[in-house]
Structure formats: C-alpha cells, structure tokens
C-alpha cells in the first residue's frame, strides 16, 4: 500500500476555479502531481453520472470545484451543483465510496486554496487506499 499513488480527477469551472488553478501554477505553488484537471464551463455541468463513470473506471478520488456561491458566472449554476452533489453523495454512501468525492469552492484569486485543497485531498485518498472498483478491474 505504501507505494500507492492515487489517481485524482478534478473538475474545474472555466471562470473561477480553473483560474484559481492557473494562479497556483503561475505562482509556482507546489502540489502533488496525481491530479488531472477537466475544465468545464460551469461546475453544474458535472453530472452525478460523470462521477460514477470516473469511479467505475478506477479513479481514486474526485474533486468538483467551482465559483463561490453568489459568484457563479451563470448566476445560480453552482447552487444546482450543490443540490446535485447531495444526490451523488447519498449514492456513494450506499456504495461505501462517499469519502472519494469532495466539493470545494475556489475563486480565481485563491491559488493558495487550490493548492491546499489538492494536497489535502490527495493525502486523504492515499490514506483511504485504492478505489475498490479499480482493484476489481485489475483482478479480472
């Protein structure tokens, strides 16, 4: 387990959190390299099914990020995100996968928060171990 390097997928919205990630980059803030970013126009583009699909394909942890409530560039997109995530959190709870998903609001100015969030999440997932669905996929 010690050499386990988690695969993390981060959804960033185009307007705030992707800019936050960018800022982390240009500010040369270091964070673990386990992370892959998918840019979406708004956090509300992320459907529960995208998260299920990612988990099924063996992703160890999924981070959904967007603008702070009130700052969404589509006015109330992230309020939808917040509601939607409740459904998927419920579902992941039944599957014993709840801790593999996190929702976080990151503004364009919060490069530091982006760095800290990723670092912390990677460590949490590392402690949790590999996604059981990935193990299953490898066995067969």
């Amino acid at each position: 387990m010690s050499d386990f390097e988690p695969d993390i997928l981060t959804f960033c919205c185009n307007w705030c959190s992707y800019a936050g990630a960018d800022l982390a980059g240009v500010s040369r803030l270091q964070y673990p390299t386990n992370n892959r970013i998918i840019r979406v126009m708004c956090s509300s583009r992320v459907e529960p099914i995208h998260i299920l699909e990612a988990l099924k394909e063996g992703t160890d942890g999924i981070l959904v990020t967007g603008c702070h409530i009130g700052d969404c560039h589509y006015i109330e997109g992230n309020i939808h995100t917040d509601e939607r995530m409740k459904e998927i959190v419920d579902a992941l709870e039944h599957l014993g996968l709840k801790d593999r998903l996190r929702l976080e609001w990151v503004s364009a100015a919060e490069g530091k928060k982006f760095q800290e969030t990723i670092t912390d999440f990677v460590e949490k997932i590392r402690a949790l171990g590999p996604n059981p669905l990935k193990e299953k996929a490898k066995e067969e």
Partner: protein, 384 residues
C-alpha cells in the same frame, strides 16, 4: 351519493359477476360501469389464461371487463404502464397505484384521466415458485388447479376433482415458498393512494365472501362509485363500526409483520463491504435489459442514461447500467419486485435496488407513489 372518506360494503348486482368476483365483484362492476357510461375510453384488466398466467389487456369491450373477475395472486405484473396516454380505469394493487403516481409526476400519466380502483394486497407470488410449491408442498399437479384463495392466513388450492388443500402461509414461507420477497417487507397493504381502496378485509357476517369493502379516497373515487350506482351495477351500504375496526386491525397486523420481516431481509452491511454487496451479485448480469424494461417507475424510454453511458464490454465488473439505475431509482423505486421477477440470471435486483433506495428515501422523509404533489428529492433543483 357517496362522499370522500366513506367506508362502504358493496357488491355487483349481477349475480354471476358477484359469484365469480374475488369477494363481491364490486371492482369489476365499477370498471364495467366506467366504460359503459363513458367515464373512460378503456379499461385495463387481467385476461386469465390459467391460475398462473394472465395477461393485462386494454379493452373497450364491457364483456371482456365482466369476464375478468377474480384475484390472481400468482401473476405479479405491474399495470401502471398500461395506463399511459389513455383515458382509462384500472384495478391496482398498492404498488400499481404507486407506480401510476410516480409516472404522473414524470408527466407520463394524466391522473385526471386515470381512474384507479385500488385492491388491498397481502402479497403476490411468483408463478414459477407457486408451481414448484404445488408439487413439493401440496403434492398437486399445477395443471389440476382450478382455483386458489387466501383465507385466515392459509393458502388454499382447489383441484379439478373438487378437492381442497390448505397450508399456512407462514409455513410455506419458512420452506422458501410463498410471497415474493418484496411483498414480505411491503407495508402498503391498503391502497390509500388510489381513488378507491377495495378488499375483503372487514367483510363480516353473512356477507363474508360475497361482498367487497370499499373506502372512497377522493373525488374520482366518488365519481366511480356514483357512476356504478347510477348504472345499476352495484349496491353499497355503510360499513359497520365493527367491520371498519376489523379491517384496521388486520392491516396493523400485516404492517407490523412487514416491518419485522424488513429487519430480517435487509442485512446490516459494514461500510467496507458495501461495494462488494452490490458488485458480487451484479457480476452475474447478462445485460438483457429486462429489469429496465419492466420497471414501472422508469420513465426514460429509449433515450436513457443507464444505457447511454453503458457499454456491453464493461459488464464483467459492475456495469454503468446498474450504477446509473441505482442512482436514478434511489428516489423512485417502490420495491414492486418486477425486476427480480424477470431477471433471467436470478439476481435479487429488487433487494439491491431497495437496499439502495429505502435509506435514501427515509433520510429525506420521502415516500414515492403516495401523493402526486410530493416532489421527488432529486427530481429537479428547487432554488431556495
């Protein structure tokens, strides 16, 4: 004139219908009158083939309705989808009525045009299980069965040569037969979500066995009954206090039993074993899609997410198909048992779906299929 909330005992005025009826033929007479008087354009009923086989039909022929008397305990189909897009009256077990309401929430059924004559339901059996049970427990050739009845907790079969044999349902269930698993933990025994709630509980005295107890649930129920009375097809009288009390008491007993069995049926699953709990049985799936086809609350049709994100090749592990279905049905599954009934791989798919859905629904204090105005928690985002 009857009123909402009335508790009545009634029967079909046509002697033949009354005699053939499961209790008093009232349900058949009400359905026939609705068709005759133009309240509806079609009626959904069960066309009997034998005790274990019947097909739902959508008919505008009064004779076909009149011929459909009797309760088939070994034909556990769900009738909701037959009501779609029609002006229709239909009999409905509580789970049929639940599915009708869920479909109405999804815009697939217009409740104003759908008259639901509810039937109390103590449970139904899978035909294959019933046939096996006849051979192993009753020593009866299924081909010889001409009638079946439930009385005082016993399941009675009548044969061609006039014999009758009764065995307690508890005993049958202990031996692994009897009601389908989902019916054992079902706690909606009186269809208070239908327009009328009909059954034989509470029919006592000289009427026992030849009348139907009927509770009027709403305005459509009033219309159905008034219409049938006007057409001269039924006669009703108020139920006595004693009858009402007995019905309520039997219902309490059944609901308590359901609650007890629920605890026995659903295992406590430790967090780390949850994934395995779902994945192991679902690995047997041969991807036939029958469980989706038959699900009475699914309103997606051909363009569905469970199939859209699913590829046949990923079926060797837990498929997207099942993951999406678990998610999608978490607020609408009514544990009707249809999916387990049809699964060719004998996967206890209803048990898995309801293991997933019931905790979710309870957490959000939501029960599907009861009130059309209760918005499913994951239905749409409601902006506060």
């Amino acid at each position: 004139m009857v009123n909402v909330g009335d508790m009545l005992v009634g029967y079909a005025t046509n002697e033949d219908v009354r005699k053939r009826g499961a209790s008093g033929g009232l349900v058949t007479a009400v359905l026939a009158a609705a068709l005759e008087k133009g309240l509806v354009e079609n009626v959904v009923v069960m066309k009997h083939i034998n005790e274990f086989e019947a097909v739902p039909i959508i008919t505008d022929d009064v004779d076909e309705v009149l011929a459909s008397t009797g309760s088939l305990h070994s034909v556990p189909v769900n009738l909701a989808k037959y009501a779609m897009g029609r002006k229709v009256a239909m009999p409905a077990k509580p789970c049929d009525a639940q599915a009708v309401i869920e479909q109405a929430k999804r815009g697939m059924i217009d409740l104003d045009n759908t008259y639901v004559v509810g039937l109390n339901c103590g449970g139904s059996m899978h035909p294959v299980t019933t046939k096996k049970m006849l051979v192993e427990m009753y020593d009866i050739d299924p081909e010889d069965v001409v009638g079946e009845e439930i009385e005082k907790g016993k399941l009675i079969f009548k044969t061609k040569n006039g014999e009758e044999m009764a065995i307690a349902i508890d005993e049958l269930e202990e031996a692994g037969f009897g009601r389908r698993e989902s019916c054992r933990y079902c706690t909606l025994k009186i269809p208070v979500n239908a327009d009328l709630a009909c059954g034989n509980w509470g029919v006592i005295g000289d009427k026992a066995g030849s009348a139907t107890f009927c509770q009027v649930m709403n305005d459509k129920g009033v219309k159905l009954l008034d219409n049938a009375i006007e057409a001269g097809r039924i006669e009703v009288e108020p139920a006595s206090d004693k009858a009402i009390a007995i019905r309520a008491k039997v219902n309490d007993v059944m609901v308590n039993l359901g609650n007890t069995l629920e605890k026995e049926i659903f295992p406590e699953i430790p967090d780390e074993e949850r994934m395995q709990y779902y994945m192991e049985p679902m690995a047997d799936c041969i991807d036939c899609g029958a469980c989706k086809e038959v699900c009475p609350v699914c309103a997606c049709g051909e363009d569905s997410k469970c199939t859209m994100f699913h590829s046949l090749v990923d079926n060797y592990k837990m498929s997207m198909y099942h993951m999406v279905r678990l998610l999608h049905l978490s607020d609408s599954c009514i544990a009707c048992g249809q999916c387990s009934d049809v699964c060719p791989s004998d996967i206890p798919i209803t048990l898995l779906q309801s293991s997933f859905a019931i905790p979710s629904q309870r957490k959000r204090e939501y029960t599907p299929g009861m009130n059309v105005d209760d918005v499913p928690p994951f239905f749409e985002v409601i902006l506060k």
